[in-house]
Amino acid sequence: MASRILKHVENTPHRLFARVIVNDEATPISYSALAASSAPYAAACRERGIGQGDRVIILFDHGPELLFAFFGAMFAGAVPTMMSPPSPRQEPGHFWDGQIQVIKRIDAKAIMTTDRLRAALESVLPHHGRQVITPSALPDTDLLPDLEFAGNDIAFLQHSSGTTGTKKGVMISHEALLHQIDSYAKALALTSDDRIVSWLPLYHDMGLIACCLLPVLKGVPVTLLSPFEWVIRPTSLFDYIEKTKATMTWQPNFGYQHIVNCAKPGDRWDLSSMRAFVNCSERCRPETINGFVSKFADMGVEASTVQTCYAMAETVFAATQSDIGSAPRVETLDAAALVDEGIARPSLATHGSTVQVQSCGRQIDGLTVLTMDEDGNRLPDRRIGEICISGPSLARGYDRQPDKTDAVFREGWYHSGDLGYMANGELFVTGRKDDLLILNGRNHYAHDLEFALRDVPGIIPGRLMAMSEYRSDIGSDALIILAETRETSSAALKQIKKSIRDTIVDETGLVPNEVHLLEPMWLLKSTSGKISRSATRHKFKESQEFIA
């Protein structure tokens, strides 16, 4: 990867790589500036004996230094991994505990961060024993080390968003990354005339791959907005699409809904330059896409410009992509056949229960995407099964977690845990096999959230469940906490709900959308004595008999 970037530096040094926006101020970065500003970070690594294969944590707020540190570590031969900076709402102790667990597990040799975050880390953990590299104390050089990489060397680790104990570092090799970039660029029909705008955080695989590494390797300029600033002013994405005449952007389903919710009547933008608004990283919902298209149709958004993609870090990024230039298909299915028989049977019924499922497009070149039953047999079209992927973009597994690697990377296939079906070469995603909750494009396991709540006073031990339900008004799943209690006074119930909310926010940074307290024995157990998630979810939908 480094040699491909250096070719751009040599051939087109003044070409724009990225324009980084902070507080509406743009910092343009050319390829030569990227190399020159990454060099001090690479030199800082080499001075400290950090090189080939050493893990380096990259912990920065949005800004140019984040890019320089990441590429600098890579140019030094090290293995960088981007971590999310602290959320303002998460309790700092919990945040740093989580970081330390990851730092220890991957045996990180160094942390590249700001002076502010260094001070915060060292106030919590003064003796962390890692080298710290900050922008204020870098060597004065603009020369990059001359290194050769083997294709199967690890280029970087992509950490999943799970809570502390379950973060997994996906090992991405140089060859897997380059295969993904070439194959995905072909699926997108990407050219050097394209221009990308993104607000996605770079610690998320969609942000890093689609909106940083794809542009830098393909010579496509990208404008990077702050995720923090985008949340509060989501239509800033449109401001920069218009300003830069952008052609492509990526965001999860909730991002499209958030823009629809926040665009004011009378607001107008020229969005006619866009050829792909890609919807990815959580279930793509037809109603969200339709709402987005209809709201902005007179500004240049057409059904054929909203695209879908199925992606995950374990395949570097994209496994499938809808056909650029055509509106992705939506199928209307018989809901009973889907749930009871595991068959995606198209329904023409005008009455009865139906469900709409959005196509995620076709497998990208070099990858094979199919569904398997529980015995590992390939399923025919329209049979619901686990979505599995094989091919040269597959990751090398999870760093220093062989058990977790072996559980999902088996015989050349990545077993995603997602459920879906194939139809005429197109993939349709219908749900999850396990208790993974996908909230605003980020993954969290229900059992982690339940573990976080284990000591909340007033909850009957072990009698609680975290679940999610899709809500069209937010375009994503809402987080719902169900917990049994023996308390009955309104003051005690109010306090328990507050403790549940505070604990989830402090430990994870997530905010529950609903907290419901239940009388003892409300939650349903399976024959093995565990809470039955599916039966309890069904009861929750049917009954609203909560005590608070």
């Binding site: 709402r89 509060i232 905010v511």
Partner: protein, 80 residues
Amino acid sequence: MSADNVFQRLSQVISRELGCDISDIHRDTSADDIDGWDSLAHARLILKIEEVFDLRLPGDKLFELDNVGDLVVLVSDAQG
């Protein structure tokens, strides 16, 4: 508009936008006290407040608010 009036109107907007009981909203109420008051809901709420009060709030202050009382001060300052 007095700070009390700003608080009362803000309470109505928060209650309507977040679907919570207006009696649960006090000056020391924080986002963590209300179900679903996450960063996306905060953005929608700010837009609604700007519409109702016909003003624009400074973007850099919007994530520094500790509670509803801080929001009252921010809106009052923006009204001039």
